[in-house]
Chain length 246, copies 2
């Protein structure tokens, strides 16, 4: 491969990033709005994504593109699926925009989806490159997105839920010392259903990587609850814990 | 896209299939051996895979390519990951072979992995196209494969294990009526570790989609064991059962 080729964009492969943000107000997703002056139907929101370069692997591409479009850096992105419907970039509204930014706007593009779950307060997006806005949007009010990005978002949600059930993700979204109520709220928000409180407590307190502290909440109006912390080292030594709350 | 373009192969995207076979002798994987007369180092075993066509989606490509190379048809293939290391098709041995079969042998190729779990006795492979052999190989003796196919196989194993822990796969690999010993053997073979018998029975009999029958094994030398069957309808009504045996 020539130097020139290796620095070029691959016309047939892209990545798209589904960045979820969790805070006390609920679950959000990071969207960008693209410039598309000719378009009047308003479907210009999309997930941050673009073609990969020929000299980078998929993880590197996801990291670079997210940073270029939204200025977000240093977050953990997990690949979850590839999307390859032959018509996924063929909608007229999308083609119009592609003609304004791509060398080969008619090319078949297979995209690889990545997701991440972060605390929005720690990551302030700033739009750049072809994004004119980059913003957190509540998951409940996401509009019709460009390309097949609603499908990618939906699959990203499923991937996040599976990960929440099979790996201890999400602890970094809570304060270092947290109550079981806060932990339950995180799980309910991401899983999208209420969890029986007794079941939740029975399961979660049986996990030896969750450490009950000799401390209680301070400065709360209600009866203060016991505080817990996550013990990564105990987790590393436990075998495939599962979070199945029903 | 012109008619001609839409029937052409995409130079940058392929699929590779990791087909696992389970029977009483253990876990196997389906490999093909490619023709590569100039090559003497013997690394010509690979997973069945090839470039996608521009008019098909990824699932269709996986199904078509598996059938073309091995004659296997009508099996359920699940996508599990995309592999995009820029050097994944750049090994000299692989390039040699690519030059003999591909229009653009130097092209960057991102591949999408699919896996399946079947009963080998029901699927007799027959080599075709560029495969000169298609055969089941025990997972323990898989040699160094072409491209990054050892990595894809390893990731396919992880995907299979995750699926075994989170979904009721594998029941179709057992007789319609099976003993808990047979079920445990299936799980131990795929998961790759021994499961405590008491833990296994306690968990598995608590699942209401597993139905204990009023029947026992017949014609066995040892004490006949009770037979069970899988109840798909009860499963469909249960919520996210997990198979966490430790």
């Amino acid at each position: 491969m020539s130097e020139n080729q290796s620095l070029s964009l691959n016309p047939n492969v892209s990545v798209d990033c589904v960045v979820f943000g969790f805070d006390l107000s609920g679950l959000k997703v990071l969207l960008i709005e693209r410039e598309n002056p000719d378009n009047t139907d308003g479907k210009n929101y999309q997930l941050p994504g673009d073609l990969i370069r020929n000299d980078e692997n998929l993880d590197e591409a996801a990291k670079r593109i997210l940073k270029e479009l939204t200025a977000l850096d240093n977050l953990f992105l997990s690949q979850f699926a590839a999307f390859g419907d032959p018509s996924r970039v063929k909608r007229e509204n999308d083609l119009e925009w592609l003609r304004s930014v791509r060398k080969d706007p008619e090319a078949r593009v297979v995209t690889v989806g990545y997701f991440s779950l972060i605390k929005p307060e720690n990551f302030k997006p700033a739009a750049n490159s072809f994004a004119r806005k980059a913003e957190w949007m509540s998951i409940d009010i996401v509009p019709e997105l460009a390309f097949d990005h609603n499908l990618i978002l939906q699959n990203g949600m499923e991937a996040l839920k599976l990960k929440m059930r099979t790996e201890p993700v999400g602890f970094e979204l809570l304060p270092e010392k947290f109550t079981l109520g806060q932990l339950q709220n995180l799980y309910e928000t991401v899983m999208g259903f209420e969890i029986d409180k007794r079941n939740f407590r029975r399961k979660i307190t049986g996990m030896d990587f969750l450490k009950a502290l000799d401390e209680k909440q301070q400065g709360v109006a209600h009866k203060p609850a016991r505080l817990y912390e996550f013990n990564q080292s105990a987790y590393n030594h436990s075998f495939s814990p599962m979070f199945d709350f029903q």
